[in-house]
């Protein structure tokens, strides 16, 4: 019986040499897939094709598809199990979660056109700081991101808060829900959505809310 695995376990299994199999059609596999992944679309999944692509029954095998709503990886894992594969893992959250965690991919779509690669470093501060302690924090940026020890985003403070008394706490001066996107979004998609939503900046965060950087409109010039 195949086991389900999350992103952390999928990553560990890959590092330990498991076979990684993307079961989506080639058109989805080619632009971006997990590093070292082999493409065996579910509709082609026979013992002959698996053998030809060197997916061996006696090695741990992780299968994935598009995202947690897509059932192809679960069906592929069940099929591999039925075909006698020894140790099969269904990476349910799949490629979307992998990319949203900011993990590397391979493929024809250059990573350089995704938010995760384009994101620039942004100043950060702690929730228990005061506005006075931020005087020199902003540099050329208009926002400073409030993060916890794990770099999870708690909010942002704008440069304007420097007009408040220096003893004002960051907690009081913080804007709690800054706009954010996952690192997997392409620059062209992001430029379009920022224009539509009237955003001057977005934070790039992993699916766990961890800060990767910031993008402003001019960072995406020429992308749409």
């Amino acid at each position: 019986m195949a086991e389900q695995c999350d992103t952390a376990l999928a990553r560990r299994l890959a590092d330990d040499g498991a076979q990684i199999v993307e079961v989506l059609p080639a058109a989805s596999y080619e632009p971006a897939h997990l590093p070292g992944a082999v493409n065996v679309p579910l509709k082609d999944m026979t013992l002959a094709v698996l053998a030809e692509r060197e997916v061996l029954p006696d090695r741990p095998t992780v299968v994935y598809c598009y995202d947690h709503e897509c059932d192809l990886s679960s069906r592929a894992a069940a099929l591999l199990d039925a075909l006698g594969y020894q140790e099969v893992y269904d990476y349910v959250a799949s490629k979307t979660a992998w990319m949203a965690a900011g993990l590397p991919t391979e493929g024809t779509a250059p990573a350089s056109e995704r938010a995760g690669t384009l994101a620039r470093p942004v100043p950060t501060c702690a929730l228990d700081a005061t506005v006075g302690e931020l005087q020199d924090s902003f540099g050329d940026d208009d926002v400073c991101v409030v993060v916890d020890e794990s770099q999870t985003v708690l909010g942002v403070v704008r440069r304007d808060v420097l007009t408040l008394p220096s003893t004002t706490s960051v907690l009081a001066a913080m804007q709690p829900a800054p706009p954010s996107v996952r690192p997997s979004i392409t620059a062209a998609e992001l430029a379009r959505s920022m224009e539509k939503d009237g955003r001057s900046y977005v934070l790039v965060t992993t699916s766990l809310g961890r800060l990767m950087g910031v993008l402003v409109r001019s960072d995406l010039d020429g992308q749409h």
Partner: protein, 329 residues
Amino acid sequence: MVSTDALVGDGLELGYWLSSEEHAPAALIEHAAAAERAGIRTAMISDHYAPWTERQGQSAFVWTMLGALAQATSDLRIGTGVTAAVHRMHPLVIAHAAATTEVLMPGRFFLGLGTGERLNEDVMGQRWPRPAERRAMLEEAVDLVRALWDGETVTRTDGHFRVERARLYTRPAVPPPIVVSASGRRSAQLAGRRGDAVLSAKPDSDVVDAFEAAGGDGKPRLVQLHVCWAEDHEAARRTVRQWWPNGGIPGAVLGELARPAEFDQLVQALSDEAIQHAVVTGPDPDRYVDAVTRAVAAGYTTVYLHQIGPDQRGFLDFVRRELRPRLSG
């Protein structure tokens, strides 16, 4: 070239709201002078045809008020909050009135423009346009007003406003800035494209962001904050219920009713909680500091305090003694 001197203060600025819905003309003049003496540097005055509720009872013509305010104050920077170019005021009349005001108080006037409320336009007996149409009218009005201020002879045979060879003879050397009122993303984008600043009726970081993304980056962002200072907290809440129950009406409805009597009926159905929700009340200065801090956190540079009810002197004294010291340094 527009000068934004009338909008830009030094750091965080506390402004004062002259509520012409609640106060008679002579009282408004006294309040403005008292605000100036209390160290306040900027004010906005409502531009209404009617008050929101019958109890408020007043609604002075803003351009007459501005002529008097120009004489009664010496440093106070004053803007309209806000003038609508829908039916009641044609943009060329707005341009004319505003140009004269700027000449009377050079560098001290700014024109606030918005898409208006039916309350102030219905008296003209015309169809009340939907928000998108009013935004288009506002955008057209801004262009028309600026062209007239620039000394152009303007003719318009298409669009929402007809103009026949209009030219302003009394014009300031430097036109005043235009502040565009915004309550959502589309109006914030319009403010960013066409305005020299944005004004919000309540703090909204999305409005600020949309304003900045659409061209407003670095321009002033103004916000209104309704308050009711009184020594006694319960007395303040009673004053709010009596004088400003309309604060509890959702924004989408606020623009759609035609008469004060209709607002009176609607506010009867509101809970006290809804009425008090967006108002800072009572004597505790920390509550006011928190509210101003939240406005600055959302991205606003000037916070206009609207003291609800008759006690303006007590409030201005509170600002001078309690509030300003806590918000500086």
